[in-house]
Amino acid sequence: MADQEASKINLDNHLLLDQPLLRLPYELLRKNFRSAHFTFEKDSTFVKNLLKETANGSLNGRTTPQDVVKNLDTMLARIRGMKRKLSAYADEETRLHRQVDARVAHLRELSGVHTVDDVKYDAWSRQRLDRLLVDYLLRHGYNASATSLAEERQMVDLVDIDTFVAMSKIRKSLEDRSVQEALAWCNENKKELRRMHSNLEFMLRCQQFIEMRRAGTPAKMAEAIAHAKKYIAPFNDTYTEEVCNMAGLLAHLPDTKQEPYESLYSLERWTKLADVFVEAHNKLLGLPSFPLLHTALSSGLSALKTPACHSSTATSSSRPSHSTSLTTSVCPICSTELNELARNVPYAHHSKSHVEHDLLLLPNGRVYGKDRLEEYAVKAGLPPGQVRDLVTGESFAVDKLKKVFIT
């Protein structure tokens, strides 16, 4: 058995699911810095320009001392505003650094653990599951559950509630048919979205156009055309087909049965927009596109699954996992929780048999290890020379048993 090898923890391979744990706060640090820098650039340019203008104006006598004071007040207000914003960014930076520290400390706990049989590993792995659960809950917008689990397990610093709550607000607004929040988000992340060739903003602009066209009043139609000129037509080279479709939409009423216009008018486009937004959001922050729990489960269910887990005959095995009792725990894949979920995943690949020692065949076709049969006979209070089937409960004489050879 390669069990010893399988129990070893190799950090290079064991922390794959935990990458977003550090990647996300790092991305947020960068984003936070970019916002801070943008604020500084904008406000400092404004103040520097106004200062120069005021100085020049004051020199050549066009600006009165009263106006100089007024301009200085404007500058002061602007700078104080900038300071407030920078302080907020600085606080966020401190918070993110603290979060990174807490997360590294959590990962660091695994440094001293070399095998999965270590009790410390158990505690760590449980916490990992809690993290995966919170991630899953947040991605599905179950924010109350996520918060309550994170608080109950005292791991608020290890999960990204704020990020996902902010995301789910925007997603919700799209599902409620409002583009404003999503457009504001696009504006905040303009450069990065452009760099990753996201079509989110274009899609949102199209939706605005569709809604104006849907309203159909002359005023709205005029607005729609102006909107298209400003936000849609410039993308003619990149999204030629979509731009043409938008133009075509002007000739089709909302109740059209003609494709692609029927789909464009469809309210389901909003759900699609929400998905596009979530995808862009996750990509921008370097988050995996589906919950980490899914990744863990699809690999874990397969690794645990055996052909016996969905077979119609109860097998004899269900190996005793703890020596204190010969009764066994139900296999996790056979257990109600996961059985149906695991139905469609492939079962694990094994190249070697894995069976009990000294197998004996009972007359009814069932096979058990000798030790287990003997132990059970004693516990069941059978007379000597008798054994009992652990699954069916039938009793047999020992001399009716046959040895089984597994090669």
Binding site: S7, K48, S58, A90, H140, G141, S318, S321, S325, S353
Partner: protein
């Protein structure tokens, strides 16, 4: 095994060290304090201009103001650059001590099973005793996805469960037992949360936690009551839980008030233990006579039990945690559930198997093979011994695992082969064993259940 970069290793310890250093590098807060300088300059200038209000002072002040403000802005800009360097250092540290390895992202095998995952999570939270989180979750999930109902019928092939519990009259049992048992069969018709009997499951698990809590306080009475109420099922499983608990109770009483802290009366101490044995051990006599005799004989050694041959029987050091874990295992098994949370085991196994999956997908990406299409994974995912729950038989000739359609067969000499292998080996009706000189006939090969 993932990534060929040799000088980069995941090393949280090294990362922590590096970050301790980075935390001392300049951050945005430095810029904030330097903004104050600009405010001071502007405020002073404003006072001067406002105080004099003559064009000459104004233009002079403003001209003089240009350079210091410019310098002050430059300082803030430098602060920002420093902060940006700090960020970059953090990124570098991450790349060095936590090198990025992409996770499989092309295919989400779990994407369509949202309701089933929700149910697994709800059951996990309940079995972990997170009752308030579980109820928040069930509310959240039900209000969020009323349209998400999936109805794949199940075969109902889960462990058969004896349902005629004769537990009437056992204290504290009635409330939990009155509800129908929460087995796969009762919830298999539909897998959404609304059909999922969270109330019953919660009642069951709160009962389990109540009993475990009492066991922690060294009170065996509720556990014994539960075991007695379910003695038929426990016996069918070959579990001795009821006797083990009663035995421990005897030993515990035997130790007397000084050790067990129970009231010093007729029910306690040696006399109490003897009385307990008289009242309770009768029912175990047929199965556990030798052990009962041993317990009774120990009385002779009562003054010096630690120096007697019975000291191991009378040591209670690990006994309580041992019965607590057998209790949990039996309790969950009677519900048709695994003793450890399956979600926990699966997530842990998932983390252990993931590197193999990534290695495989990376290797086959060029060929465009998809890993989920076959019945069986195309690569091995070794798991520790305790995560192997079933016997695995790999036919030594075909090198394939046996399945329901291709079960293991024992041929007359005692060797085991897959049925398809036996059929292929046949010449006419006879075949020769590939592992020993004996020959057999097809009709003599018999199906075995491992």
């Amino acid at each position: 095994m993932v990534g060929a970069d040799t000088d980069k290793h995941t090393d949280p310890k090294g990362l922590q060290h590096e970050l301790d250093h980075i935390n001392n590098l300049p951050q945005l807060s430095a810029a904030v304090s330097n903004v104050d300088k600009i405010i001071e300059l502007l405020t002073a200038a404003r006072e001067r201009v406002a105080g004099a209000l003559d064009p000459h002072t104004a233009s002079l002040t403003m001209t003089k103001l240009q350079n210091p403000v410019k310098v002050a802005f430059e300082t803030v800009n430098v602060n920002l650059k420093d902060a940006s360097q700090t960020n970059k250092a953090t990124g570098k540290a991450l790349d060095k001590f936590f090198p990025y390895k992409p996770l499989p992202a092309d295919h989400d095998a779990m994407a369509d099973h949202h309701p089933l995952i929700n149910r697994a999570i709800a059951m996990h939270l309940l079995r972990e005793g997170q009752f308030s989180v579980a109820s928040t979750f069930i509310d959240d999930a039900q209000s969020a996805s009323p349209y998400n109902i999936e109805g794949t019928p199940s075969d109902g092939q889960d462990e058969p469960m004896d349902e005629d519990d004769d537990d009437a009259g056992v204290e504290g049992e009635a409330d939990a037992e009155a509800s129908p048992p929460v087995t796969a069969s009762s919830s298999s018709d539909s897998h959404d949360l609304s059909s999922f009997q969270s109330q019953e499951l919660q009642a069951k698990f709160s009962e389990m936690y109540r009993v475990l809590q009492e066991l922690k306080l060294r009170n065996l009475v509720p556990a014994i009551a539960w075991a007695r109420a379910n003695s038929a099922e426990l016996e069918a499983r070959g579990s001795n839980l009821e006797f083990e608990l009663s035995k421990l109770q005897y030993v515990w009483l035997f130790k007397g008030p000084a050790v067990n802290g129970l009231p010093d009366d007729q029910q306690n101490g040696r006399a109490g233990a003897m009385a307990y044995a008289r009242d309770n051990f009768g029912r175990f006599q047929s199965r556990h006579l030798p052990e009962i005799q041993q317990l009774a004989s120990a009385v002779v050694f009562a003054p010096n039990i630690t120096g007697s041959p019975y000291r191991s029987v009378f040591s209670t050091d690990g006994a309580f945690s041992e019965v607590a874990s057998s209790f949990t295992r039996e309790f969950c098994s009677l519900l048709g559930l695994s003793a450890e949370s399956p979600l926990y085991i699966a997530a842990t196994a998932g983390a252990l198997a993931l590197p193999w999956l990534i290695k495989y997908t990376t290797a086959t990406k060029a060929k465009g093979t998809e890993w989920t299409t076959a019945n069986e994974l195309a690569f091995a995912t070794p798991l520790p011994e305790r995560m192997m729950y079933h016997s695995i038989f790999v036919c030594p000739v075909a090198k394939e695992q046996t399945t329901e359609d291709n079960p293991p067969m024992m041929i007359p000499c005692g060797h085991v082969l897959a049925r398809e292998t036996v059929t292929k080996l046949c010449k006419g009706n006879r075949f020769k064993c590939p592992y020993c000189p004996s020959e057999g006939q097809l009709k003599d090969a018999r199906l075995i259940i491992l």
